[in-house]
Assembly symmetry: C2
Homo-oligomer: 361 residues x 2
Amino acid sequence: MNRITDLHAIVPAGGAGTRLWPLSRAGRPKFLLDLLGTGRSLLQATVDRLDPLVAGTVVVTGERHADAVRAQLPGLDAQDVLAEPSPRDSMAAIGLATAVLAQRHGDVLVGSFAADHVISGDFAGALEQAAVAARAGHVVTIGITPRGPSTAFGYIHAGRTLGLEGAPDARAARGFTEKPDAHTASRYLATGDYRWNAGIFVARAEVLLGHLSEQLPALHDGVRELARAWDTPGRAAALAEIWPGLERIAIDHAIAEPVAAQGGVALVPGDFAWDDLGDFDALAEHLVEEGAGADDGAPVLAVDAQRPLVLGADRAVAVVGLDDVVVVQTPDALLVTTRAHAQAVKDAVGLAREAGREDLV
Amino acid sequence: MNRITDLHAIVPAGGAGTRLWPLSRAGRPKFLLDLLGTGRSLLQATVDRLDPLVAGTVVVTGERHADAVRAQLPGLDAQDVLAEPSPRDSMAAIGLATAVLAQRHGDVLVGSFAADHVISGDFAGALEQAAVAARAGHVVTIGITPRGPSTAFGYIHAGRTLGLEGAPDARAARGFTEKPDAHTASRYLATGDYRWNAGIFVARAEVLLGHLSEQLPALHDGVRELARAWDTPGRAAALAEIWPGLERIAIDHAIAEPVAAQGGVALVPGDFAWDDLGDFDALAEHLVEEGAGADDGAPVLAVDAQRPLVLGADRAVAVVGLDDVVVVQTPDALLVTTRAHAQAVKDAVGLAREAGREDLV
């Protein structure tokens, strides 16, 4: 495993993960949680994974979480935690980090990696091919080999092989799609040409910023100006002036989709295990089916109840007559649902807000 | 509402109520619990109901619970709580209390009333007719007008009207049946001649003891001998000698069924509302459907979830995608089930025992 010495990792750490409530909260978001019981939070595991592979890592997070991020990552320089005054979606976060890295290091490679996904297997091999394709001028995404026709993820459509030396598996990315319905997902899988979109993008800093300049010049100019001020006493003033006006847009819409349409995006297949742990169904897949840690020691008495997922319980839990139930206890809340309803958990957070219980949100 | 001055109430207070676990425990049985949130336990509500209608009340309970019973019923004389050294089923309990009452008061009327049922409506009217029929020499049961073809209760088959002055509704009881299947229950209801068996029996003390002497002479002789020793210094010695040898049998099998077959049992219809609160389904009928108290103030966030029953929660409870769910929290246990599986809750208690968790039982 060789370090890619010209690649800097960007880890956008945002999003509350309301489908994992009551574990995740606005003030204690998913990326700070040790959901798999490994002893490391998802953010820590992400940085642990990247650290030996790249020249350095910056984390972009909300001001509210910056202290918690620094506390979880004592090995990171303070200057490598970039704090956003308010959420402006992934393009502003990644654009700012890219511009700051370009300002600090010149036209290095940058790669963005979500703070709250779980990856195991040969990640390094895919990253090396991605770096090769990025040096050649592509915006490179790593497309995950689908485990099944999931409707929970976006897909990337792979085209012709690029024939790059050092990146034999790199193909042109024909396009990106939103989460499909079940029929469409099955059709995608049958072609063999679709892969899951894990939100991993690798590119030369100036290539990425060049595309941003072309697609969204105001956003480009904003992050460039912020980057020039970032490591100076003028940072706060620049943030106050520029940040609130930046467009809220995801990098997928801002760059990946339009640049793919122009033929500028490459796809490197990722055959490693990947999950976004998006809800308790995904979490149960890891904790119940793979038995990768399971509950916290509270005894579970299951009567006519298959595959219970019990988390956080500080007392004995009996489940009677319910398959695939999800029981999650925290000091101030208790969630009872089933894996089939995992996506609807976010609506409980909405109800709590409507009930004036911001303390639960 | 006139007091029936020759009627003494016997309240057998036994049975853990394992289908109401984790609220009910071996050491904190159902009858001691305020399941309906009225501020009175089921035992207290039973005695409250009987007290203005009868000459006096005795409670028969296990030694383990005698102190708790006395504490809940400070208005009862200490001598009116009869403590059993070990459970010997309802015939021994009611037989002992009847013999003690006969010893103390002569051939009074006695009536047995479960400690853990809930009754509202015109109970007094039925009791008055029952007393009339009992004075005439019958063993009298009060048969509850069925609310539907329940498979959770035993039934009593009513025969010809007895034509008793003062008890115009009294009929001969042709027989008692165990809990029927759904088809049989529907057939029973279609005849109009079947009523639910609430375990209420009223008789002259000497009539009841006479039947016992005929059916089970050893059990009769045992409770008579215990009664003679009861209010003397010889009680403990008599209990130690006699109690362990008494036959374990329910009063239904010991007296009601054989005496009904001889034509000696009368049935008085009870048109009051009655329930044995046998499981969380029955409890939900009161707490959720009738809204008679419901949960304990913990907010319930229900997303795509009809009629949740949440009890004992000390934190917010979110239920997502489950109808008729039952969530019961105590300091050491959490139960998650549905009303349809309410009868299986007792199996969780069995699992706890198998797991060596006697503390949860």
